[in-house]
């Protein structure tokens, strides 16, 4: 019997997606381990996948030549690299580097398209999560960068959504009414 390569992360994945039906995603994904300091994505260079952080931590910079602005960190339970998919440019819009040894789920763009076409419910749950993360990042990067005491430019917002604050389930009618009436 073959070993379950996703074994220790199934609970996390089920929590994130709000379903135990993980195979449509996992059948199309691969695990990836990267070491501290290793670059996962390089600003403005080609990319073909998006990544979910299963363990460890990544940091994100926007770069121009030798200069950079640190946008923040991507913690476990958060995705990175999806902007290149949705904007169809297939180049990374930031540099993503492992802060510590990290385990990732790699989902190639072609596999995500296949998921959207063939497994709409799982894809929809995933899209819902990706939207929440994009909202978080847009809000986190709204202000101008600041200089830290060592002269490095950085953003003060938090790029990641803690696992326990992620949208585990779809909102349904109650959430719709809350939003319509402005009640939080």
């Amino acid at each position: 019997m073959s070993e379950d390569i996703w074994g220790e992360y199934r609970e996390l994945l089920a929590d994130l997606l709000g379903t135990d039906d993980l195979e449509p995603l996992l059948d199309r994904a691969q695990p990836l381990a990267i070491g501290a300091g290793q670059v996962l994505l390089k600003d403005s260079e080609p990319t073909d996948s998006m990544y979910l952080v299963l363990s460890g931590r990544l940091e994100v910079h926007v770069e121009l030549g030798a200069h950079a602005i640190r946008l923040g960190e991507i913690e476990a339970g958060n995705w990175v690299g999806e902007v290149a998919y949705y904007t169809r440019c297939d180049t990374a819009c930031s540099t993503v580097t492992a802060v510590q040894t990290s385990t990732l789920l790699r989902l190639p763009f072609a596999a995500y398209t296949d998921l959207v076409k063939g497994q709409a419910e799982v894809a929809c749950r995933l899209t819902h999560l990706l939207i929440a993360m994009q909202v978080q990042r847009l809000r986190a990067t709204v202000n101008d960068p600041v200089l830290d005491p060592e002269g490095r430019l950085l953003m003060l917002g938090d790029l990641s959504i803690p696992i326990d604050q992620q949208p585990l389930h779809h909102g349904g009618v109650l959430d719709f009414i809350r939003k319509l009436t402005g009640i939080r």
């Binding site: 926007v62 770069e63 121009l64 030549g65 030798a66 200069h67 950079a68 602005i69 946008l71 999806e82 902007v83 998919y85 949705y86 904007t87 169809r88 440019c89 819009c93 930031s94 959207v116 076409k117 709409a120 419910e121 894809a123 929809c124 749950r125 899209t127 819902h128 990706l130 939207i131 994009q134 909202v135 990042r137 847009l138 809000r139 990067t141 709204v142 202000n143 101008d144 960068p145 430019l153 779809h170 909102g171 349904g172 719709f176 939003k179 319509l180 402005g182 939080r184």
Partner: protein, 155 residues
């Protein structure tokens, strides 16, 4: 211009069925607006989801020092207002017409009905929103790169 046909050409609508496009196009209202019309005000809630069809919409915001920054100009085919509708928080910038513009708008109530992911059209609509937000994120990163270029012109 036939709105349904126009929507079908936009990247985020790649997975929409013909019926989906009918529903969305019929829920949107197309109107002309004059120079200076403000669609969204910074720090106020959005009440509609907008799609620029013709002309230019300029985006600007007041920074921490109350200085006004012009950050971006939207071109036809770009959406705006989605972020505030998704998270029910205020808009982060002002969106105003630069010259005469034609804009399609989807009212908040229709947006929230479509944004429910418990239906095929809802899932397809979420793809539209994810595409719109990704485009905004990419623009944000480009703006930050431009800022770096201004701070370090020698490279």
């Amino acid at each position: 211009m036939l709105l349904k046909r126009y929507l079908s050409t936009l990247p985020g609508f790649a997975f929409m069925t013909d019926e989906d496009l009918d529903h969305i196009a019929s829920a949107m209202k197309v109107e002309d607006y004059p120079e200076g019309h403000v669609f969204l005000y910074q720090d106020k809630p959005a009440r509609a989801f907008y799609l620029l069809l013709e002309g230019v919409v300029k985006v600007g915001y007041y920074g921490r020092s109350q200085q006004y920054y012009n950050v971006r100009k939207l071109k036809p085919g770009e959406f705006f207002g989605g972020l505030s509708l998704v998270d029910s928080k205020p808009v982060m910038a002002n969106y105003a017409a630069e010259g005469d513009v034609k804009v399609a708008s989807l009212p908040l109530s229709a947006f929230l009905l479509l944004y429910q992911p418990n239906s095929a059209i809802g899932c397809h609509f979420q793809h539209v929103i994810a595409t719109h937000l990704a485009s905004d994120l990419k623009a944000r990163h480009l703006a930050l790169r431009d800022l770096l270029g201004k701070m370090y012109p020698a490279g």
